[in-house]
């Protein structure tokens, strides 16, 4: 089957620094390409279902353009693929975590046009033409952290850190919609992000600090 391979040198989201690949980028590219191959076989399963080798008759086209973190990415997406799968295993954007894969934890939270949603419970084909933002898309052009990320660091928000990208994305969406939330507003907004470590108060401190400092 045809899969889009990930060539970091050609990837507009990841311009080569100083003409060549840094060690970190090289490792990332190997991980990403490896993941593409394994995800391809995982997604296709061992059966030959509709759409595995060709576009399903009358159904969606597999090769689609996605708008991810402000860049247009061409990617081959099977009809039954979730956005979390595409982001992590086709595009190498592993900042988005998969905790439960059924809408029950919030680790996979990303933004669609500034609205937080669970990428594990959304088909990739459903977000064509929409602006997708993942945690990788938050840093400024000079590489500095987003105010929410910085505030989470300053407030020692994460404990193990697994839920952190999701907590960040939900908090960013909250502050875009409501730059001056009360602590209760923040609690309600973050009610769909589970933290196994129970670091909720630290995250709330982080959101309130980010709101103050913005």
């Amino acid at each position: 089957m045809s899969v889009v391979t990930f060539d970091p040198e050609k990837d507009p989201a990841n311009p080569p620094v100083g003409g060549g690949l840094s060690r970190r980028e090289l490792i990332k590219s190997v991980i990403a390409t490896g993941a593409v191959v394994s995800a391809g076989s995982l997604l296709g399963g061992c059966g030959s279902g509709p759409g595995e080798t060709q576009t399903a008759v009358g159904g969606v086209e597999r090769l689609i353009s996605l708008n991810i973190n402000g860049k247009v990415r061409r990617v081959d997406v099977v009809p039954h693929e979730t956005l979390a799968m595409t982001l992590r295993y086709k595009l190498g954007l592993t900042g988005t975590k998969l905790g439960c894969d059924r809408g029950e934890c919030g680790a996979c939270t990303i933004l669609i046009d500034d609205t937080p949603i669970y990428s594990c419970s959304t088909l990739t084909h459903s977000v064509r033409g929409r602006a997708v933002t993942t945690v990788e898309g938050l840093q400024a052009a000079d590489g500095s952290l987003h105010p929410v990320q910085q505030a989470f660091v300053d407030e020692l928000g994460p404990q193990c850190g697994f839920c952190t990208p999701g907590q960040i994305m939900t908090s960013v969406a909250l502050l875009r919609a409501n730059p001056n939330p009360t602590r209760e507003d923040a609690r309600q907004a973050l009610a769909g992000n589970l933290c196994r470590c129970g670091a909720y108060d630290h995250y709330l401190n982080g959101v309130m600090r980010a709101a103050q400092e913005a």
């Binding site: 039954h80 059924r102 939900t170």
Partner: protein, 330 residues
């Protein structure tokens, strides 16, 4: 047994009009699956308990999105999200029981993608059924929940008929309390049924929760002005305030004439396969004043005839108290 694995492949269709969606739904019939926000749909597919050949994504059918005020009430497109309903000015000012109910569903992220149509049409959460066991509702010959060892803490108190599953929706009791009318489009045209008749129990059809036939799409929910600006109450009790489905919820719409109740509709979820309209309670409170005594009587009459299972006796006092509070504190 269900496997927690990738979904089985399916064809995905993304029509951009209701007509397009209806044609696809008609063409694929029982092999097709209407998908709205996908929260319920995708978990069935991931568990491989349901494996449709063709999935018809309503996401592009923009004619089904939005809330419209008319002379007689409001019309809500089935594809309107729960967030839009919770935040709608017109719903908050005229029918706040519905915006309140929508706000109590699941989590913000789920409300951002779930539609009111999906929330009303979603299947029951009985875990035996959802895990793919061959129970009555799945076309088999036994109920795993209604056995001495069955885990039935979440199951029903009323009108069991082989199946003891309950309605999971938080918005459904509010829609029934408001006397919502459901417009359904299908291969043979359009029909409208009262919300109260839209939901069906196992005695009518054990394999479906609504009157929808394969190929039919719920298009609009119309709320008449009957209870516009009335006194409302919504309360949900669940194990956690996020994510969890209601153990019991209550939605009430009350019209007062001076100090007496002139009209009321009171509905509970989580106690029967359908949102349970409590007509006895309504009769008890009509003509009375809204006080402690009337509320206590309402609570007592609400649970009359309840037949608990092994692990859900607690739902009886819970339901009694919720109905009592609905009348007293609305």
């Amino acid at each position: 047994m269900a496997t927690k694995d990738m979904m089985r492949p399916f064809q995905l269709f993304q029509p951009e009009s209701l007509d397009g969606a209806l044609a696809l739904a008609d063409k694929h019939g029982g092999d097709g699956w209407i998908m709205s926000g996908g929260n319920d749909s995708l978990s069935w597919f991931k568990d491989r308990v349901k494996s449709p050949v063709a999935v018809i994504d309503l996401g592009g059918v923009t004619d089904l999105v939005g809330i419209r005020e008319t002379a007689n009430g409001i019309e809500i497109g089935a594809q309107t999200t729960l967030t839009e309903i919770a935040e709608s000015d017109v719903i908050q000012s005229k029918f706040s029981v519905l915006s309140d109910a929508a706000r109590h569903v699941a989590t913000p992220q789920i409300r951002n993608v779930s539609s009111i149509g999906g929330n009303l049409c979603q299947d029951t959460r009985c875990w035996y059924y959802r895990d793919g066991l061959d129970c009555y509702r799945a076309g088999g010959t036994k109920c795993y929940a209604d056995t001495p060892e069955g885990m039935n803490r979440e199951h029903c108190l009323f009108n069991a008929d082989r199946c003891v599953a309950v309605t999971p929706s938080d918005t459904a009791p509010a829609i029934v309390a408001l006397d919502g009318q459901m417009t359904i489009a299908g291969p043979n045209g359009t029909r409208t049924v009262p919300a109260e008749e839209f939901f069906i129990g196992p005695a009518i059809d054990i394999e479906r929760m609504t009157v929808l036939e394969p190929g039919e799409i719920l298009t609009t929910i119309t709320i008449p002005n009957t209870f516009s600006g009335a006194t409302f109450y919504f309360e949900k009790v669940a194990d956690r305030n996020s994510w969890d489905f209601a153990l019991v919820n209550v939605a009430a719409a009350i019209i007062e004439d001076g100090s007496t109740i002139s009209d009321a509709r009171v509905v509970c979820g989580g106690v029967e396969c359908v949102p349970k309209r409590l007509t006895v309670v309504e009769e008890v409170v009509k003509g009375s004043s809204r006080d402690e005594e009337t509320a206590a009587l309402a609570g007592q009459s609400a649970v009359r005839g309840a037949t608990p299972l092994n692990y859900n006796h607690f739902k009886i006092p819970l339901m009694e108290n919720l109905v009592k509070r609905a009348i007293r504190d609305a």
